[in-house]
Symmetry: D2
Subunit: 367 residues, 4 copies
């Protein structure tokens, strides 16, 4: 595609107005996108998109904009329960779609989305976009080269105190697993491979919260310990919750037969990685090479793929697989038994990164 990719935003809340707006502006400055339309159920958001992004066309019903001729790609950034329906409609309208996580909140809806994506000309890119981060890919290359051997055990962790806005976070279809744990599960399955089984414990650690200034009852589990069986006696845990105040330690740990590798920071904002190889006998600390990598990077990737007519490396089957694990984890916690995972997917692979400039010559990583 020669002209800038026409972008329509559906959902103009905090995820859109901060992170995606920032990246969209950069892409527009580089002439890669034009921002043509926006939609939000709150009419007041029209002012924001006009003043901040110069978008004149605004609707409160997404159906009014997703069929427009100058819209090439629809970004679905609404609250979670709407994701599936909007993404499906946009694909059916022949558009490319980026949908924030989760792709849908039921497996049936997600399966339908996959089917539509299969026969639609548009790409479907489902967040989270963690497999795009340079640190994820560096770790993937180490694993692929066998630097730490076959993985036996893994741990991942992402939680925080929880939002004090958006009551839907604490109602059915919300919760920290869809919002936070989804990152860790995407990372672990991307790096290790598809899950075979899942078991979990979950509960409501903080039954009442003040959200949007109101004391509400929390209606979903806000606290999770999930264990995944990857086959061949390889097991990984994910710890997540709106019940953690702070942490200090690796985000993701992978224990293999010949070494250990771990991602620092968070998988959506890595701060380098650490590698132990038995044949070296020392921890190797790799600084973050791209501290400015944005977790919205799937947008850049989708635009690249549209412009250069390439398949995205983020695959909807991966998102579906992670969704199945999450839904089964909740079920497992409620039923007290381990559940089989039926879906599978092929993790993205990456070319060797060839020669890099020497790390000690990276003088100013801030620019």
């Amino acid at each position: 595609m020669d002209r800038p990719v026409g972008i329509a935003f559906v959902g103009c809340g905090s995820v859109m107005s901060g992170p995606y707006t920032r990246l969209a502006r950069q892409l527009r400055e580089r002439g890669e996108v034009s921002l043509v339309a926006a939609c939000d159920v709150v009419p007041d958001r029209a002012a924001f998109v006009r003043d901040e992004l110069g978008i004149e066309r605004f609707a409160t019903d997404y159906r009014e904009i997703i069929t427009a001729d100058d819209v090439d790609a629809v970004l679905v950034l609404t609250s979670m329960p709407e994701h599936g329906a909007i993404a499906k409609a946009a694909l059916e309208a022949g558009k490319h779609v980026l949908v924030e996580k989760p792709m849908a909140t039921t497996l049936a809806e997600a399966r339908e989305l996959l089917a539509v994506a299969e026969r639609s000309p548009g790409h479907l890119v489902c967040a989270p976009h963690v497999v795009l981060s340079p640190t994820y890919q560096a770790i993937w290359r180490h694993l692929h080269r066998g630097d730490v051997g076959r993985i036996h055990l893994a741990r991942a962790r992402y939680g925080w105190a929880g939002p004090w806005w958006g009551q839907w976070f604490y109602r059915s279809g919300g919760g920290p697993l869809f919002d936070l744990g989804v990152y860790n599960l995407t990372t672990l399955t991307g790096l290790i491979g598809p899950a075979r089984r899942v078991t979990a414990m979950a509960g409501t650690a903080i039954p009442e919260r003040r959200v949007d200034g109101e004391l509400i009852k929390v209606e979903v589990e806000d606290n999770f310990q999930i264990t995944v069986d990857f086959g061949d006696a390889c097991f990984g845990t994910v710890t997540t919750g709106f019940s953690m105040q702070s942490y200090r330690g690796p985000a993701v740990e992978l224990y293999g037969g010949a070494g250990t590798i771990q991602m620092m920071g968070d998988d959506w904002a890595p701060e380098g990685y650490e590698l132990w190889r038995n044949d070296i006998g020392a921890w190797q600390l790799h600084r973050e090479q791209d501290p400015h990598w944005p977790w919205t990077d799937g947008l850049r990737h989708l635009v690249d793929c549209i412009r250069h007519d390439q398949q995205p490396v983020i695959r909807p089957e991966h998102a579906y697989h992670v969704l199945e694990i999450m839904i089964k984890a909740i079920e497992s916690a409620r039923e007290g038994r381990t559940l089989d995972i039926e879906s599978t997917f092929t993790p993205p692979t990456f070319a060797d990164d060839g020669d890099r400039a020497d790390a000690h010559l990276l003088h100013d990583p801030t620019h």
Copy 2:
């Protein structure tokens, strides 16, 4: 007791000859113990105990020494499957007993041991002795004071590449859970309280190993992910295996409603702790105050209790509870369901530590 406590060793392998010997020598130098007898099924060990410890009395059958009048306390340091029977016999002989972990390898045997201990005049101190470490107790005090709020999530981890000696480690009654995971479970239940339920995944990650120079088939699970339900939506995981090469991160992490606290190093060899309190807004790093604390410290404690006629703070009910969790974890992994824990115990409490010398005046922590 005015005279030195008479000690008999049962089992003179690597655990005895290194760690316990070192501490026993120090206690003897301070005049608190005399080392009066030793037993091992390998007759050659007689030379070691005579030459290194000056112990003349040696037997290959423990029954020959545990009844001797000058033996006050019996240290059971054999391989795991023997622990229960020897400890029981020594208690029945009216002796104090320190038994390495696990106290027994079946719940029936452990229950009997508890019953005997109940009616015996001797103390029963069951390893691991982690609740005695200054760092464990410092963390306990922070929890007790409410510095991090109620605990919602916890993680603990202890594994290594596994021993290349002792084939019994890889046969029934062995495995990393009894050998390593037992520490983490003792620590978590000590700090958080009794477990209500357990679920686990386990497998044999490395089916063949070279042990004592011989390639053997591994007959037990060597790789574990265990999740424990502590009630009130508080869940903890333990990751353990003879399948980890190295790690770098906290040993134990406790996530509470007002902060986070984590133990560095390992729970059997702590290297300080780190504390986040929301009301402070910074991580506080507490250096290890006693880098020489030995994980054999239960021996010193038992001797203290004998000499000053006090109850040990290490309680056999705690060891029994941990044993039940371990046995149920294995069962849970095999059956694919969450199992209830029936036993309970009262975690040890500690007095406030009062005023300490200022940390910056600790000039030479090596002595």
Copy 3:
């Protein structure tokens, strides 16, 4: 000033095209500046400023642009030896000036610049802008509150392998002290106060280098150890050179009578700070609150001051004082004696930062 501040760039090399361009674009997007003219001795740079920044007016002689009516502020980003003359001419033309470090390469020239600035209506903001970073100011506040007592000893360090472009870096008027050490000296004097004396050792550690593809002889010292006497038995060292490959440790350390405080990362790109207070007895780790703070921030500050008619907190007397220390340090190293510093200045002070949002609620520091 109501309209955007008109900016002219003098010098369009790597410092301009990367770091300052990025910030200038952001300010333009916010409507705070317009980029009206650019100058470089290399005519080819005209294309860059036109294509990347939309600046049509370009000159190879700075005198052609610094007097233009629509230019409010001149950014002097040339190679070091030109700084003084251009900054002076721009001030004399009644413009505001931001000059990269060093403000001049001789004290006479710098003194003249100060005098011109004194009588000129324009502000003179001299890089480095380290006193603007939130981490610098947080440390200043701790010092000011007495959290670590009076400072007795300090260390600062900034070096790297050295540029492989720009042969002038290795000729008279270049060198790592003006290029790198200037940051540390600005930070230390800003935090501790004016220097009274200086002693130094310096030499040429790497006598030949490949620069711009050519093997050249290094004509200046590339390796420095500088010690500064701040009075009252307080001494600080600065270690700098084009002779360091990598480091891992604090950038700036301040040892006081009641504690220690240290800045992590580099003073031009801080990564938080660490605080020891004797009355707390633990290290407190403060995460970087603004990982995106740009070392070009003096431009934003200058624009703010112009728009709101305020005095910059970055004072030219500070830059002059640091220049004197640097020039005397080189002299001291050559002569083998300690030299007095004659100039002085008043370090910038900062208001209390009042109440902050709780640190644990900073969920996504990447945006």
Copy 4:
């Protein structure tokens, strides 16, 4: 020598009663030494050495014991000003001598000691014994193999809040340079080579202190920044003082043309080392392999050398060279000029350490 080495202690204060006593007991337990006599100017110490070490022979005048036939080696552990005279007398009596730092407090006295040692049959081992630590030697091997290239810059640091006992620490012949800085200077010169020149700043940061319960006036410099010229444009700094409360960062940093290596902890109690090599491009963290290495290790080494008739690797010429640097540093600070160092020495070299057991198999570093 076949029989245990007969040891006499001269000076039974805190250095003797804690650190050296602990090691001496271990050596006695291994049958390598017998503790035959002790001396202290305080008659009360007789009880301590008899009760704790079983030493019956006690004198208040060292001349009474250093000539005894059963004394093979004399440990000089008195306060600093006495060191030189006692060491000299013991050497003249034909004994082996270990003397705590500094070997003497004037160069003339030290020169005489060297001359006596030259013609005496006894070894002279001068503290500090830092070159014996496994971590020092590992770093030496990396340097020797060229892993970080030629060293250009170095920093070392050791200080603390200062003793609240022993008023002589704060009088002429005392001070933190002789007490603390001596370690860093021994380490730097051992690793880099002899110094050519020195410059320093020093002062009395805390003019009054409470010592032994009494408020005293501090009569010596308690605060130092020292810079050493090693030739070939290589410069190192030592920061030391009774004016530092706590630190967190490497003890010793060595910046070379191809990488960086740094010792963690303190050079008298290392906690591993960290290595950057440009050709690897990551920091390698080497855990401390011998966390129990005692800074009194020169005693073990002296006993080994006596028993196996070998030359100690700790050379008195090294101690003399360091003493000259210290004395000249004080002079330099007072005079405000750089001073030449006249003495030189040959740093100890170490054989390759051959094959080591794999680091990940070190399961229990506590024993």
